[in-house]
Symmetry: C2
Subunit: 441 residues, 2 copies
């Protein structure tokens, strides 16, 4: 998920900044790249470092409608100069934003809680689920991450936490049908659903019952899995039949990123009870949300004095509204689909040219590239993945990697990436793959 | 803490807004006042409602350096138009802010984690404490609130939550020596410290041990208690001697609000292990922090891949820096002390005029007024407190109430309140007290 930084190649001013950083926020706060990058300016999908070098951002989803987006800046600035208070006084901004956001859910889910981050959203969703069901059990994927609080640390398997894995949590292996024929995929699905049955039964036998499943619909941390058709529907059916709630963690899959749908759960024939939002929601302004039904909101609201000081403020709402406005005005979901197809086509061509590339994963503007051992196809090659990321950076394009084997290239540019920039991304990718491949022999 | 809203007296447009609000964020999201107030504009300590009426803000601490502060707006706007990214790339803003903030801690605590809210700060502080001690037990005050996550709900006693009180939590009654002579106060302190001893022993006997005490140094939710001299020192000594950490929740007491000190824990001869920050930190921009030692940061950072997407961004850091800059430029802590003394003197005069007023509480720019039964001095009178708050609103001044009996008037204006505004506040308070008092007979 992140790389460990080395200081040796930093310029003198950047090394000085690094030393001051270590002396304040400490040496463990993660940094990308062997030689950390000091970024000082952004515009659209471009970023500029302290030495004046320009990079194409092929990684960051938080600046959804572009780095330094002036429409978002104007909206925030205007509101900051007007009023910014909590929701215990009335103000139209939070209502305007809530309506605009709920409009994208087609009436299936029509109430929301606003919070300040994806972690706060998943925390609240789990509180709602535990209280609704009276159960404690939770079903997650066995290589996942949903936030940094205590109760989310207890169900974290996708990165290092010191907390013990919760006795009330079951992690199931999400099936990946990449490269399989239909029959094998169905067999895999059925085996994986049997694992879901066993996990639910185990929670029930242990006396925890099941309060919820908590899953990212596109399994980003896991490496952008290709789940067999019917698996998610089968899982949701089983969880809901056992009395649990289905929580879709759309911190990464939401806001049109996937091109065909505003929300990742719409890939499947399911009805989530709770959808959690974060990262791109305010283009970097700290906002998150839990989208739910009137019944669940009413139940939780009636039993708890839930208040969140910062959330739903006029400024946070203005940032969220500006993001939705930019998406609509610039038709960014349609753009993500078209640009995403262009990139994916090119990636499939590049894959044919090198034994380093296994599967091409993802959809819309969210891509993964399995980097595998040429001598042992199918075997992950994290070292080559790391080399590719560093080489791409040297060529002026920022990407990263994910997956349980740290071998899946992760490409997820701001939604405003232009066609010429997409061309640059795939050109640099083709060059990098060719260079690393030729170095193999 | 909050009032239940009634709709009957709303103007037609405000009633329409209220209906849209209920249909999106729901009917339970708390609102102040019998007739909720729709606020549309702010400047300094002034607020304006939708009907164009102006109010003096005697309540809000989040807009620390004033509503619609142009210095904060400029700083945020400039940074939004430059770059806003997470801390996995280097940027000087987070380091500049971290240094400026840590400078206010006089070297005792010299590292920090940045987060997005007070809830996230207390969550993280408890994770650090549990991991450091290997214990689960927590000591809190028996009428307190520290945030809205699952593990904070389990230790909440100051407002309604549906979660059961944690078996690993002990809530002690914080002693209030208001009106006592020195000898009685010392006896009260000793009894209260015996209760602390018993709580720690009980956690140890139950096998939880003690990971931390989590306390607001000025006990705001509890009603601004006057703790007997030596009590906090005795509690901290006992917790730390038992291996636990002392967490000062400075979400309300911090940032110079108390006039004499930048931080509330500096009222006492103690050294907290962790200090948590929130509300006023970004003048409404969602920021929080955990301030700690190098040793605790290193231990936690080495064991956990802790990352927080929004926290420490250049924009959040710019907002935080602008708040510290405004405090310094305008000498707001000194101003809080002087203006606070002026208000407190006036409050003591008013108190003499009415049997409704019991103790005058607080310090700096944070005041409490015990509202008591004239026929039974010392008995709380929440109905009269509520009447006073509504009457103050009718007279154009916003305040609220706190305390286990909901009878302590809470006054906590933005730090920029001017002398003339302070005069207006006490004039309206005198009138309101006189009117309610005369209505008693």
């Amino acid at each position: 998920m992140t790389e460990i930084a080395q200081n040796s190649l930093l310029s003198e001013p950047t090394a000085a900044l690094m030393a001051r950083r270590v002396a304040t926020i400490g040496p463990h706060s993660p940094l990308f790249y062997n030689t950390p990058l000091e970024l000082v300016r952004g515009e659209g999908a471009w970023l500029t470092d302290a030495q004046g070098r320009t990079y194409l951002d092929g990684y960051n989803n938080v600046p959804h409608v572009g780095h330094a987006n002036p429409v978002v800046a104007d909206a925030v600035n205007r509101q900051l100069r007007t009023i910014n208070l909590h929701t215990r006084y009335l103000n139209h901004m939070v209502v305007d934003y809530a309506e605009a956001l709920l409009d994208t859910f087609n009436g299936e889910l029509d109430r929301l809680f606003l919070v300040n981050s994806g972690s706060e959203a998943n925390e609240l969703a789990l509180r709602i689920a535990r209280q609704h069901t009276g159960n404690r059990g939770i079903l997650v994927s066995d290589f996942s991450y949903h936030g940094n609080t205590s109760s989310l640390a207890e169900l974290t398997t996708g990165l290092e936490v010191h907390e013990e894995f919760g006795s009330h949590v079951r992690a199931v292996r999400i099936p990946d049908a990449t490269g399989m024929d239909a029959q094998s995929a169905m067999a895999l699905r059925d085996r994986a659903l049997a694992e879901v049955d066993a996990a639910i039964a185990s929670l029930q036998e242990a006396g925890h019952g099941i309060s919820a499943s908590l899953l990212d619909p596109i399994f980003s941390t896991e490496g952008l899995l290709n789940v067999p058709s019917g698996y998610i529907e089968g899982l949701a059916q089983r969880v809901q039949a056992a009395g649990g709630l289905f929580i879709a963690d759309e911190v990464q899959s939401g806001f049109g990123r996937l091109g065909n749908h505003m929300w990742g759960h719409q890939l499947y024939a399911i009805k989530p009870d709770l959808v959690t939002l974060g990262k791109p929601m305010g283009n970097g302004h700290p906002i998150g949300a839990v989208i739910t039904t009137e019944a669940l909101l009413d139940e939780f609201g009636g039993r708890n004095m839930y208040f969140n000081t910062f959330a739903g403020s006029p400024v946070s709402s203005a940032a969220g509204l500006a993001v939705l406005g930019e998406m609509r005005e610039r038709q960014l979901m349609t753009h993500a689909r078209a640009t995403g197809e262009f990139i994916a086509d090119a990636m499939r061509e590049i894959a044919k040219s090198s034994p380093l590339i296994g599967a091409v994963r993802g959809q819309g503007l969210f891509f993964g590239y399995d980097i595998v051992r040429p001598e042992a196809p199918g075997q992950p090659h994290p070292v080559a993945a790391k080399q590719l990321i560093e080489l791409m950076k040297d060529k002026g394009v920022l990407i990263s990697r994910i997956g349980r084997d740290d071998n899946v290239l992760k490409m997820r540019p701001p939604m405003v990436i232009e066609r010429e920039q997409a061309q640059l991304l795939v050109d640099r990718l083709a060059e990098s793959v060719a260079e690393i491949t030729s170095g193999l022999s």
